[in-house]
Symmetry: C2
């Protein structure tokens, strides 16, 4: 194998590949990237068996071939090379005594030469080639937003596997993504450009988080998504992301939602976010005290009392309905507020024991948060 | 106690005080700041018994008093207050049943109210008042530089206590600071504005590191330094930093230095720094391989070979003297190079077993690095 390629293209390709490299692994091969060179293209492939990524870049392929390199070291070396032109060449030195092949790759850039150990791709698991019967289209921008605005509600409790993923549901032209963790639910609804066949699949949270880091925030560029039996594939730019789906039945989310309420409060998001954020200062891991919302007249009085001190703060709101005193985990409030992109936010309450709903008129977002007894 | 003060002044005062707050401690009181309010001044005092800091700010003192607060929580709360005007007021609530005093401090800013537990200053160790017979003057800028350009050579091996500090030595109008760790020595010489009596003291590395973070890089502003039997005091702006000195005899550094050399090499600093830095990519904790300098004609060929690969790189230099092949710990080279503020640097070598010296003509800096056998 002998390739001449651009440092900038290679660096960004490696950056994408690293998203499927586990931070530690018992299987050595999982920390390797496969480099496949043919037809003036270089493909970089990484695969942790849950999530696989393949990304392609233009290169001058002088001699085709394929090889595996340790991903992080390769990444570090390429980043620190001095020139934009990089030459990579694989050499097979056979030790004349032992007959053992000692395979290395020479990486050259300007006067700099690195030689690193490489492995054959024999043990490497390349991505299977799936094709779905329907290609769902969504912009980079929308997909990235929907993921970022829901993923914080994904549970990290591996005992309830379905909770560690998000529901990806298509009905007609509506895409709904749902994440829940037993204390809260995050829902985003999004209008797709056309109608598709129904989809109901659970995509692992890890896949979505890595995906959202790779896709751009370009509203013009498209991601193509298709589902096969146990997998979902995302195709965009020169990159394919393939992920296993989570087996199992997702919760019946509609049963958990209601429009009934006894109190509606409209608050200034920035003001409320600052207040709730300050309450965290007093919170200690040992006593997970709630922040109390005392809602009366046109005010919310926020208060918290913990082993180290107390806080108390008033903000003006627009209120329709009954007075109410209710307590919440401030972290859950902050997660939801941070991810809503509007100045004023509507809260809907039923009573101190029932969940509160944060949503807009059109229900493009719905956040449900369970209260805490106090 | 009741104070009204400026958030910005208070925040910067707390920032300074935190430098003497240990990250963890078995003695609770060490994680507290003492607040002393009198005569329209507020003094903040922190003391970890090695290093003590006292800093003063202007305030409207409505009622004088003194109190201790948990430093980090106090810092976090103040940072997140909404308005610049902060009111702090200590309340003594005596529980009518138990008769136990429950002391709290109310912190108010705009509509925000925090109430936190406080402690009396009974257990707090305030700083003793030392005065030295001679006040040494140096600019913030110079002191900060001298510390930063030597402190990386301080040893962290607590078994050889004197190595965990720096030699602070004054002879006439020359200040010399020396740090060494058994593999290398860092020396800076600096001309003071006037002559002082001889000083030879060992200042703890931790003190110097914290001090360099507090002082500015203003060349016009002065730090006043004076020594008493076991302590050194630094006074600047509204702040006093007091530190214990390290007991013991420092090494005879002059015995370790020599001007004799068989080879002088002048290199471009930036170029060499990049090269040596790249060699770190191949270095693994398990095999601490040296970087080899092969110095011949007008080149240095740098190479390193480890379990994961090898690198090889040439740079052009100006050379006077014998050819030489010598190996070094690349980290030590990088530390020295990074801290020299000139484009071209002179290296002096004797033979592959003797230390190399990096110094300028006037010896304002001398870095000695021991070679590694290879």
């Amino acid at each position: 194998m002998k390739i001449v390629c651009d440092k900038s293209l290679l660096t960004s390709g490696i950056g994408i590949s690293l998203r499927a490299i586990p931070s530690k692994s018992t299987m050595q091969i999982l920390s390797f990237i496969a480099i496949v060179a043919e037809d003036n293209k270089v493909r970089l492939v990484s695969n942790n068996l849950e999530l696989g990524i393949e990304t392609e870049l233009d290169a001058n392929v002088i001699e085709g071939g394929k090889i595996c390199v340790e991903a992080r070291m390769f990444s570090e070396i390429v980043k620190k090379l001095p020139n934009n032109e990089i030459t990579m060449e694989v050499n097979d030195d056979t030790n004349s005594d032992s007959g053992i092949k000692n395979r290395t790759m020479l990486i050259k850039s300007g006067k700099v030469k690195f030689e690193i150990a490489v492995m054959s791709t024999d043990e490497f698991v390349f991505l299977p080639n799936f094709s779905g019967d329907e290609n769902i289209e969504i912009s980079h921008y929308d997909l990235k937003n929907i993921i970022n605005q829901t993923e914080f509600s994904i549970s990290d409790n591996e005992n309830t596997k379905v909770m560690t993923g998000e529901l990806f549901e298509i009905k007609g032209n509506n895409l709904r993504m749902v994440a829940l963790d037993g204390n809260r639910i995050a829902i985003r609804n999004h209008n797709l450009v056309k109608e598709y066949k129904d989809v109901r699949a659970i995509i692992p949270g890890k896949t979505l988080r890595e995906l959202s880091k790779i896709i751009s925030d370009d509203i013009e560029k498209r991601v193509i998504i298709y589902f096969s039996d146990n997998h979902v594939t995302f195709k965009f730019d020169n990159t394919t992301v393939l992920s296993r789906l989570i087996d199992g039945n997702y919760y019946n989310v509609d049963k958990m939602l209601t429009d009934t309420h006894n109190l509606k409060v409209t608050v200034n998001k920035a003001e409320m976010l600052e207040t709730v954020d300050r309450s965290l200062l007093l919170r200690r891991e040992s006593d997970k005290k709630p922040i109390i919302f005392d809602i009366y007249d046109d005010h919310i009085n926020f208060s918290m009392k913990t082993s180290v001190g107390s806080m108390n703060e008033d903000i003006d709101v627009t209120k329709t309905g009954d007075d109410l005193k209710i307590g919440f985990n401030p972290k859950f409030m902050i997660d939801a507020l941070k991810n809503i992109d509007s100045e004023e936010i509507d809260f809907y309450f039923i009573n101190p024991k029932s969940p509160c709903f944060i949503r807009d008129e059109s229900k493009s977002y719905i956040y449900l948060i369970l209260p805490i007894n106090f």
